[in-house]
């Protein structure tokens, strides 16, 4: 693997984390409209960080591809004619969409952090925020099928990928805000938010598994490829990670969240479990970045 490939891998992993932060952070704000202003501001900062990281990583990934083609060192990244050519490919369109989504997310996070209380109290305000969030999410998740292995497949596979990445990012990106909620002063609001997340997560999980299963059928032509090819084996590792993630989510929903109001020990247990979930989620994103960059499905 060349240094260009490694740089591309790193920027791709950062990009995946950033989109998860923006999508999951926005989802968390919507999840509990009754949260206090200080916590909402923290969430908005979380979204802002994700949006900035998303913008930088998307641009960097694009420039790395320019540099990798030129093979002329870092200076080769600034080849304008080559950048113009790549801008007309799926890579260029995807980069544009993702940057647009991230810039919009950054802008709305800044505006909301100044006047969230006023805006959220008005019905029109909260509806506008939900609509804006939907547009931002759409821009970001629609960028995924424009490049990568699914770009050559049919509309159904591309739709499945959109559903898949949206589900993943809603779930994974909401973990940090939920972890932040599990503090010593966790109260009824915390419990209500956790329960609400658990209710919605059921549907997210169904969408995630259904779309993921369909994509595996699309990308692999036989079960043996899951065992015999590097791509299949990477997918298998990812599936093991996802199974672990689902197990932890089940533990949280059915055991730890119901106990949440029993005291600080229960809160600590839930906090640790979500922490573990975040680590597994990061490993899954890293693995996804790796096998979609360096391996590729069998041909």
């Amino acid at each position: 693997m060349s240094s260009w490939d490694l740089a591309g891998l790193a920027s791709k992993f950062t990009g995946l984390c950033a989109v998860a932060i923006v999508v999951g952070g926005g989802f968390s704000i919507w999840l509990d409209v009754h949260m206090g202003n200080p916590f909402r501001r923290r969430l908005l900062s979380y979204v802002l960080v994700g949006a900035i990281a998303g913008t930088v990583s998307a641009c960097l990934f694009f420039l790395i591809q320019v540099g990798a083609i030129n093979q002329a060192g870092v200076a080769g990244m600034w080849d304008w004619p080559m950048a113009k050519i790549l801008a007309t490919t799926g890579l260029g369109y995807a980069t544009g969409l993702r940057v647009l989504g991230c810039v919009m997310a950054a802008g709305s996070a800044v505006v909301l952090s100044r006047s969230a209380h006023t805006i959220m109290r008005r019905r029109l305000g909260s509806v506008s925020i939900a609509a804006l969030f939907t547009v931002q999410c759409a821009l970001m998740v629609f960028s995924f099928p424009m490049m990568g292995h699914v770009a050559n497949l049919g509309m159904l596979a591309q739709a499945a990928l959109i559903v898949h990445v949206l589900s993943v990012f809603l779930w994974i990106g909401a973990l940090y805000p939920l972890w932040q909620l599990c503090t010593a002063d966790a109260n009824a609001t915390t419990h209500r938010t956790m329960v609400r997340f658990g209710e919605i997560a059921k549907f997210i999980l169904i969408a995630l598994i259904a779309s993921g299963t369909y994509l595996i059928f699309e990308l692999l032509s036989s079960f043996r490829e899951l065992l015999d090819t590097a791509y299949g084996q990477s997918l298998l590792f990812k599936l093991i990670g996802v199974t672990g993630l689902i197990a932890l989510a089940g533990l949280n929903k059915f055991l730890l969240v119901p106990d949440l109001q029993k005291g600080s020990a229960a809160v600590t247990r839930l906090r640790r479990s979500i922490q573990m979930e975040m680590l597994v989620a990061l490993a899954i994103l890293a693995l996804t970045a790796y096998f979609t960059t360096a391996v590729g499905p069998p041909s």
Binding site: G148, L156, F217, L219
Partner: protein, 143 residues
């Protein structure tokens, strides 16, 4: 039991409609002239590259085995095609390495490479196109 069988048949039919045939995920070099490993008695006028799908040919370099670059004046274009012909100058006796980068619809950067020899005194060798493809292509898809 009949209901079960009917459901099973429907499930199989549905899955067979959903699951496509073999998936060819990446753009790749299918044929090249000169082919990888060819030995030629005269300098070729062009390098012809054929791919399995429309690709953008983003870079092509020709170098001698000792690393000395051959000036070919290649200019990348955003036009996608399955066939490209790159003009070569008159090449002296020696081993030449052609490297290039292509990008298909999936925006993966794929690097291709092939080697040929120009030697007026040698016995000519022409590899089969399929063999050329297998050996010529290096995967370095990036994204």
């Amino acid at each position: 039991m009949k209901i079960f069988n009917r459901l099973a048949v429907r499930a199989v039919v549905t899955m067979s409609l959903l699951i496509p045939g073999l998936v060819f995920a990446h753009a790749k070099l299918t044929e090249a002239t000169p082919g990888n490993g060819d030995v030629l008695n005269v300098s070729p006028d062009t390098v012809d590259l054929h791919f399995n799908e429309d690709v953008r040919l983003l870079s092509v370099t020709v170098a001698k085995a000792d690393g000395a670059q051959v000036e070919i004046g290649f200019t990348p274009s955003s036009d996608a095609s399955m066939h490209f012909s790159v003009a070569l100058p008159d090449l002296a006796k020696g081993v030449y390495i052609v490297t290039g980068a292509i990008m298909g619809d999936d925006s993966h950067r794929v690097e291709v490479a092939l080697t040929f020899t120009v030697d007026a005194a040698a016995t000519p060798v022409t590899n089969q196109p399929s063999a050329t493809t297998e050996h010529a292509e290096e995967h370095a898809h990036s994204h």
